[in-house]
């Protein structure tokens, strides 16, 4: 099968470390140093990569979906209990975290766009570091919130104390709260780890308009984690808030 090399390629302007290890001539017609041999062209490779990440994200939808399902069942069983439990959450931390993640999605989108339009590495790294900083801020607020739960003895387990009318649903609610936000926070931590790798690659001038797939694919992961929080926030923090004034 002939590879479609009739189209013109833009090779990286500055020889990245990869170009040193992947010489242009290695037994067949030269191609972009990042083109894997089982692909015919860079666009095909990019499409395969993004499709692969989407298939993974569908498995993540299933992963979080299970927890959302559990939440649905238990909230349906004790709606007033869940409402009472939800009131103990600080709506302002939750809203702040939502805004932080939305801003981080914007900076991530700009990071992808910077690589896509061959911006200089400082620009790409600026957007990537901004995204990571916002992710870290999100985790910081989550740490504060978790500390408050431990302080107020509403962590499910032997030390759980509930002063309201529905202690059992409250414990169910907080089990789900820790499971869902904990799993989400774990994804954030992994996301920041992925971003670190991408940032280092960007600093080494790896990306340009011909090859920016790792940034795009890391972006897909980051946006997905944002979307999970977009649903977590109203379901956990905003149950029946109109019955009390915050």
């Amino acid at each position: 099968m002939r590879s479609a090399l009739s189209e013109s390629h833009r090779f990286p302007k500055i020889p990245s470390p990869v170009a040193i290890h992947r010489p242009a001539t290695h037994g067949h017609e030269p191609h972009h140093p990042y083109l894997q041999h089982h692909f015919d062209s860079m666009p095909q490779q990019a499409e395969a990569s993004t499709l692969g990440m989407w298939v993974f994200l569908v498995t993540e939808i299933m992963f979080f979906g299970g927890l959302f399902m559990a939440y649905l069942v238990y909230r349906h069983a004790s709606p007033t209990g869940f409402q009472e439990a939800s009131h103990h959450l600080n709506i302002y931390w939750g809203a702040a975290n939502t805004a932080i993640l939305i801003i981080s999605s914007l900076t991530m989108a700009f990071a992808v766009r910077a690589a896509q339009t061959s911006q200089k590495r400082q620009t790409q790294v600026f957007w990537l570091l901004s995204t990571m900083a916002l992710g870290a801020a999100f985790l910081g607020i989550k740490a504060i919130e978790y500390y408050d739960k431990f302080r107020d003895h509403i962590v499910p387990g032997p030390y759980f104390q509930w002063e309201g009318l529905y202690p059992k649903p409250a414990e169910q609610f907080y089990s789900l709260y820790f499971a869902m936000t904990g799993l989400h926070a774990l994804h954030m931590i992994i996301g920041i780890g992925i971003m670190t790798v991408i940032t280092i690659m960007a600093w080494r001038d790896t990306f340009d308009s011909d090859y920016y797939t790792p940034v795009e694919v890391a972006g897909l992961y980051w946006h997905f984690v944002d979307i999970v929080w977009i649903f977590l926030f109203p379901l956990l923090y905003l149950i029946g808030r109109h019955y009390h004034a915050a």
């Binding site: 989407w54 298939v55 939808i61 069983a77 939502t98 700009f110 896509q116 339009t117 109203p234």
Partner: protein
């Protein structure tokens, strides 16, 4: 390779919509609209998710194959929530089905 390069203004517009949606969600939570509260909050959340998926995640300009994979994920969720709640929401409708 390139792909579709969207103008920065589009990203800012989507961002503004997401922030407005969040503010709206918080505001609506403090007003008693009965069952409409949940409908509105989930509706706003779904719109925000759709905006992120279509524009930030570039699905708007992706191939149909990608689109089918994305849609299948949410179709799966529909089955999970739909069939499971179909059980729980109809408990007690027929004699002896409460447990």
């Amino acid at each position: 390779m390139s792909g579709h390069v969207a103008p920065k203004s589009m990203y800012y517009a989507v961002f503004a919509a997401l922030i407005v949606g969040t503010a709206l969600t918080v505001a609506v939570a403090f007003v008693d609209l009965g069952p409409l509260n949940n409908v509105l909050m989930l509706g706003i959340a779904m719109t925000k998710a759709l905006l992120v998926i279509l524009f930030f995640m570039h699905v708007r300009w992706s191939t149909r194959l990608t689109w089918v994979v994305v849609a299948s994920g949410f179709f799966w969720l529909l089955i999970l929530f739909g069939l499971t709640m179909m059980d729980f929401l109809t408990r007690g409708w027929v004699e002896g089905t409460w447990r």
